[in-house]
């Protein structure tokens, strides 16, 4: 039985249009999840979200379309047992909404220009990062203010210059699960090791690994 995923994003976006990423995600989750795109994410309701096994945030225009009702629905969806995959810019709405920052365990602060970043697996033993191969790529290095209380497991760490920042982490929230994947500025970001992380995150959500 195919599971259902709702992708939140913007076809016409200030920085990160969702079109190419949607095609990549359809290939990643082929045979596991059907993906529906939702661009009117400011009008999300808990009732609507409840019918999905996974919500993927690639939101890029929260400042214009976002609403407190939608944040309440998203956080409640996860607390009630839903699964949230937050990708790159899909974590940025944390600047406006502390509830969403608390859900992710991080508040986005900003990022310098793209740099060459080393991504490496941490010592945490988790099915999502099992057999992850360390790699380097040019990416935006997102800066976060991390929450002290979130019981997160950091699975992949990013390093450049003297900076070392979590790049992939996961945790449970209420009855639900959250996976945050920081790299994802362009379609090319979702190749190789990151693609495997996304696939396994989907399986972890539905208890297949």
């Amino acid at each position: 039985m195919m599971r259902q995923a709702l992708l939140l994003g913007d076809t016409v976006a200030p920085y990160h249009p969702v079109g190419g990423v949607m095609k990549v995600l359809q290939r990643v989750y082929d045979g596991v999840f059907d993906i529906t795109l939702e661009e009117d994410y400011g009008n999300l309701t808990l009732d609507r979200l409840k019918s999905y096994d996974m919500v993927i945030s690639y939101i890029d225009n929260w400042g214009v379309k976002g609403s407190r009702k939608a944040v309440a629905a998203l956080v409640s969806y996860v607390a009630d047992g839903g699964n949230l995959l937050a990708l790159h810019n899909g974590m940025v709405m944390t600047r406006d909404c502390h509830e969403f920052a608390l859900l992710l365990g991080a508040r986005f602060l900003g990022h310098p220009s793209q740099v060459l970043i080393d991504y490496s697996r941490t010592d945490v033993d988790h099915p999502i990062s099992e057999r992850f191969e360390d790699f380097k790529t040019t990416e935006e290095s997102y800066q976060f203010d991390f929450d002290d209380f979130t019981e997160k497991q950091v699975l992949v760490q990013s390093r450049y210059a003297k900076s070392s920042v979590p790049a992939v982490w996961c945790h449970r929230y209420g009855w639900g699960k959250v996976v945050c994947v920081v790299p994802g500025h362009q379609v090319e970001s979702f190749r190789g090791p990151v693609r495997k992380i996304l696939y396994k995150a989907g399986l972890w959500f539905i208890d297949r690994i």
Partner: protein, 225 residues
């Protein structure tokens, strides 16, 4: 019409803070505005839809850790309730903060009670903010506990009350949070029944209960950003 309140605290096995005797003061402070729709110390199995009938929930529990390992149900139910428009007022006992999601929603967790415990003289001052909870509330002094609180830096809170612990040093002792579509208030003083008899404290508690129940105007009504 009176609003509906769910009151919980520990009658049978309180660690330090029995609800007995405190409850009668709470009834007197809130009785004109609230109907006490439920008063139980056992709410670990209460489901989210059962909270929907309350306008606010007042927790005075210091036995939280014993209830927590059930199935995480009380955490899910309270998160769901507040996110979808419910009110939560936690008085004194920050014990719900042992669950991290609750610590985030409450704005922090207890690190420790500072010595001397139980009956330390504390001067409280309303913060210089325009908030409906502070209407008519003046400075006051109590013999109470002083908590060392680990504040959550990501929780957007409006500090309502500060304690002056030394000349020039004030620490937050009550705050208000808009969380999802709901409202949360934490009030640190409340160690025993004498605190609940202080006239300024009574005003603060009544206003806080009314605000969390949506009965006072102010921040929290706007659903746009």
């Amino acid at each position: 019409m009176k609003k509906k309140l769910f009151l919980s605290g520990d009658y049978t096995y309180p660690l330090y803070h029995p609800l007995k005797n405190v409850d009668s003061e709470i009834f007197a402070i809130l009785g004109d505005d609230f109907e006490f729709a439920l008063n139980t110390e056992h709410f670990e199995s209460l489901e989210d839809y059962e909270y929907a009938r309350f306008d606010t929930v007042l927790l005075y529990n210091d036995h939280w850790i014993d209830k927590s390992p059930t199935v995480h149900q009380q955490v899910q139910a309270l998160l769901h309730y507040v996110l979808n428009g419910g009110g939560l007022l936690v008085v004194h006992n920050l014990d719900p903060g042992v669950d991290y999601e609750m610590a985030q929603m409450l704005g922090g967790a207890l690190k420790k009670t500072l010595a001397p415990q139980n009956h330390r003289h504390i001067d409280y001052f309303p913060a210089a903010v325009d908030h409906p909870i502070l209407q008519g509330v003046g400075p006051f002094s109590l013999e109470d506990d002083l908590f060392d609180i680990h504040h959550d830096r990501l929780t957007d809170k409006t500090v309502l009350l500060n304690a002056r612990i030394e000349e020039g040093i004030e620490v937050p002792m009550a705050w208000a949070i808009e969380f999802g579509l709901g409202r949360v208030v934490y009030i640190a003083p409340g160690h025993d029944v004498t605190t609940f008899r202080n006239p300024e404290y009574r005003k603060l508690l009544r206003n806080a209960a009314l605000w969390t129940a949506g009965g006072l105007p102010g921040p929290g009504k706007d659903t746009s950003l």
